[in-house]
Symmetry: C2
Subunit: 586 residues, 2 copies
């Protein structure tokens, strides 16, 4: 694909719509994926059959790179853009590279954040497909999830009407679901605050049993986490069956298998299990697959996509959600542990803007103008803020993997500011720290970063997990709190203690930990910037995703359903009815 770069850089949508997108079969062919292993969804996107894993050249295994970030501002520091840009940069250097990224929820697309296809000249295209339905995987999750929700309430309703003997005649055993202990909520892929807490089953007797519940956003569904962690159809079927959806009146777990929807849900997910193939603006393959929440789930794209891609390219760049304390940690301890794939390097994205915030700069609020301090040189704030960068580098080094810091350039950055970041990074043990300008210059702007990453991947890897699964739940939590977040210790609520005992007794004590905490601080408190010390890490509750296969302790409030702002993005989105061109998507 030939991309003519324009300055000043146009809007993401303008760049994406001006791109000459290649037929996706050509993209597949460029890395040797057979035409027969692609299911086309129009000319520019397709699904890759799982058979492609078997069909890959023997012995091929890509260098495996995770892109993560320092603790971000609420604006984000360009992690997706860097993931795409680095892939383009590797391509620019003549390497066979691909990226594997998450599919975004449509909630933020129509809310405030805009799309998630990268930005500037580091985007995945076609951008409209990426940000809207793509091939329907999220819709499949919504449908599967809500089928089970309807099934649970239908079961409660029918068991309230029928005798044991009538149920038996139907081949059913009474489940005795406790209406006050149904953990399975409903989902919708939109920011709908009014659905967070609802009462269902109002009206007449035939309109169901009254109870309180609510909706989460689709990407918070456990099915999404399963899609991201499953190794194949069989594994997905089994995980779906294992999901705990409610408890009976004795407090015993009831699974999706018990409800009788596990098969139907898997049928609904049978196409979604195949990774989606798209492309970067510069023609590298982009595998887009799964997008689990990074707090109550592990926030990484799918294992299956990585397995496919890894067999066909030399460098596979993937991204983990939020900052390195959350996304990268879960990438290693949960995703890599499930897949058995061993990463070769970590790219840690840092911006001068975020470091200034960590150094004590004023609050950064989406939708408001940035304080001038973020647009003028301020070496002191940057230097102070590097505490956060250095903590993340040290965290990444604990896993035995070389770290390359990518300084994602903004036009307002000064060379002196960037030099501080570079120096501090190397001081903290980074393999290298490189200025990257892929947003404005695409692959050419990420060439230095790509070179550093190539060198880092040649380093010997001493990859290790941060904890053994055999440790107790509390021991595992304490490793994370102390080693990753810098806490002095952990305190547990009575509810958390009760649940830890319950889950241990039920045999779930050896699952990995998927911490649900704020991404706006290394600690549990979004106000604490830099590298906080001297705090106790509070666990208010702990929950179980038995199908996905992790426990998720909650450190404070966790939102699983965002809200829409006063003037959301949808107000400017429209279509030209004559040309069919989308306008206002960003």
């Amino acid at each position: 694909m030939s991309v003519k770069k324009i300055k000043p850089v146009p809007s993401d949508l303008e760049i994406a719509q001006a791109a000459e997108v290649q037929p996706i079969l050509e993209i597949a062919e460029s890395i040797g994926i057979a035409k027969d292993d692609i299911i086309l969804y129009g000319p520019y996107k397709g699904k890759v059959k799982l058979d492609a894993i078997k069909h890959a050249p023997a012995g091929k295994k890509a260098k495996y790179i995770d892109v993560t970030a320092i603790t971000p501002t609420p604006l984000g520091e360009g992690k997706s853009t860097t993931t795409v840009g680095l892939t383009e940069g590797l391509g620019y250097l003549g390497k066979k590279a691909a990226c594997a990224i998450r599919q975004p929820s449509m909630g933020p697309t129509f809310g405030i954040k805009g799309g998630a296809a990268g930005g500037g000249y580091s985007q995945v295209v076609p951008m409209e497909d990426f940000n809207l339905h793509l091939t329907g995987d999220l819709h499949a999750i919504t449908a599967a999830h809500n089928l089970t929700a309807a099934a649970i309430d239908a079961r409660i309703y029918h068991e309230s009407r029928w005798s044991d003997s009538f149920l038996e005649k139907q081949g059913l055993t009474r489940l005795n679901i406790d209406p006050d202990n149904v953990s399975w909520r409903r989902v919708v892929d939109i920011n709908d605050r009014s659905l967070r807490n609802i009462i269902i089953g109002m009206g007449e007797k035939a309109d169901g049993v009254l109870r309180e519940t609510g909706f989460d956003i689709t990407v918070a569904s456990e099915i999404m986490a399963i899609l991201a962690l499953a190794s194949d159809l069989k594994d997905m079927r089994e995980r779906i069956g294992r999901m705990i959806v409610a408890y009976n009146k004795k407090g015993e777990p009831i699974t999706a298998e018990d409800i009788g929807t596990a098969g139907a849900m898997t049928v609904l997910m049978k196409d979604a299990i195949m990774p989606n193939l798209m492309q970067t603006l510069e023609g590298q393959p982009a595998f887009v697959h799964a997008g689990p929440f990074a707090n109550i789930a592990h926030g990484n794209s799918s294992i299956i996509a990585d397995k496919v891609a890894s067999g066909y390219v030399d460098y596979l760049v993937t991204e983990s959600g939020f900052g390195a304390d959350i996304g990268m940690e879960k990438f290693f301890n949960i995703k890599c542990r499930n897949s058995g794939m061993i990463p070769d390097a970590v790219v840690l994205v840092a911006t001068v803007r975020a470091l200034k915030m960590h150094g004590g700069g004023p609050k950064v609020t989406p939708g408001r103008d940035l304080d001038p301090v973020y647009k003028e040189e301020n070496l002191e704030l940057v230097e102070k803020g590097c505490d956060n960068l250095m903590a993340h580098i040290k965290n990444a080094r604990r896993f035995g993997i070389p770290v390359v810091v990518a300084i994602n350039t903004f036009p307002t950055d000064t060379p002196a500011e960037q030099e501080i970041v570079r120096k501090k990074a190397v001081e903290a043990g980074a393999f290298d720290a490189v200025i990257a300008n892929h947003w404005a210059d695409g692959g050419e702007g990420a060439a230095d970063l790509a070179e550093a990453v190539i060198k880092a991947c040649e380093e010997p890897s001493n990859f290790k997990y941060l904890y053994d699964l055999e440790k107790s739940i509390k021991d595992k939590i304490e490793v994370l709190a102390k080693e990753m977040y810098g806490a002095d210790g952990v305190e547990y609520s009575a509810e958390a203690n009760r649940k830890i005992k319950q889950f241990t007794d039920l045999g779930y004590g050896d699952l990995p930990i998927c911490m649900a905490k704020t991404h706006l601080s290394l600690s549990h408190d979004p106000v604490l910037k830099g590298a906080p010390k001297g705090f106790t890490f509070p666990i208010t509750d702990i929950r179980l995703s038995a199908g996905a296969g992790f426990l998720y302790p909650l450190a404070g409030d966790v939102r699983t359903m965002p809200g829409l702002g006063t003037k959301p993005a949808y107000m400017s989105i429209d279509i030209d009815p004559d040309t069919g061109k989308v306008t206002g998507l960003f």
Copy 2:
């Protein structure tokens, strides 16, 4: 496609999975649709670009046939099967034929009814795609619909927080939505009785404003009706903008355009507007597009699909929902009026089983064994029941179109029973009445029917609507009640009278009428079988679909959200994890 017919006839899924499905590009080519006008969604289904309408051979216009039915039992009388079978029958006779049918909701697929791809050797394939996600059109409707629902509640919430001047600074004018008068509900494509009546906005202040609302099934969304009636993207954009979603505190309508989601909804629907191309078991093209409810909406597949198909084949067979008193009437008075397409013949499906019920046979209940009377010869019940058949024939004749009765054969029918039906049909003015056995024998079994239809299409057409739009709302309702349903007169509730005045004052008096009444009787009362007389037709309420462009009076309770039974279909649906083969779908 070569289909080897097995006796006894295997299950629908077994037949469908054994079929050698042709690449959809070959199906398109067989009727002259250019490859470039097809967007593939895998090898066996695709979307047809709207440009195909322009690219059709000049002057080509298919004979246009509507398949409808007598008043059915709750089991259905094989209308979809006959639609597919007749298409295969026309193909068997060497004619270039296609069918245009509705996409089913997944609610019934996982509930009790099973799939809707026809049955036996008259099916649309691949059956799993047809009954599950297809190309995501229903998911797009769900997403678009719920975006607007979230937007309405977000607007109510934010207007409750902000001053006029703050809103103005955001470029917003206060809409003053009345929380007790929001007509826009939410939708989900599943049978979920517990969502019929809910309270949202519980929790804290930031969790939205408390109010009562509910969910309908997706196919009941006005967006679905719009998809079925729109002529092109521009028309769809305008109709979506015109939808009334709420009223302000003065009682004035608020549209989707006012809420600011009309553009974004159209963007979500930009792929859904393209008809889906599939195939019958015998290789005729099957256009599958839109599936609006047949009570609160008009229950016909899309105008766009018919316009595309009509330019490429000689015979286009389509289907209208429920019995002829509802689906066919709306097909003529709403769909054809919108499209300007003039039908050439009506096929009225009748079964001996349903006629026995109309003649006084015992109640037919889904999921229960049929009474023996339906399996043994009973000429008296059949003869008495023919009143219903004859009323429908006369109704169809009012539109000036020849009627062919298709007697959809069951193995338990006797020749004497079928002969009564034949005789009565011709007596009532049918052009012909033919025994059809397409379920067991595919196109060959529908050859006689196809021949009769070909002859009927050569008859001169005197097509006319049943009423002029300029008539008053009450006059239009009365025409339907007296001429179609056989009522003596109409009585209106106070609420209906109030609404009729309101809609007339607002300028909506000249819209067509889309009656929401039971399909289980010609009257408003499902218990009244045969051809009821001497009743007054009650209008309890009347509602407006300003975007779709019709008024829908309610004659009694209308369910817009089905429920799941005690042992729903999903319990037997599963997937073979080794082969990926779906099992238990029916």
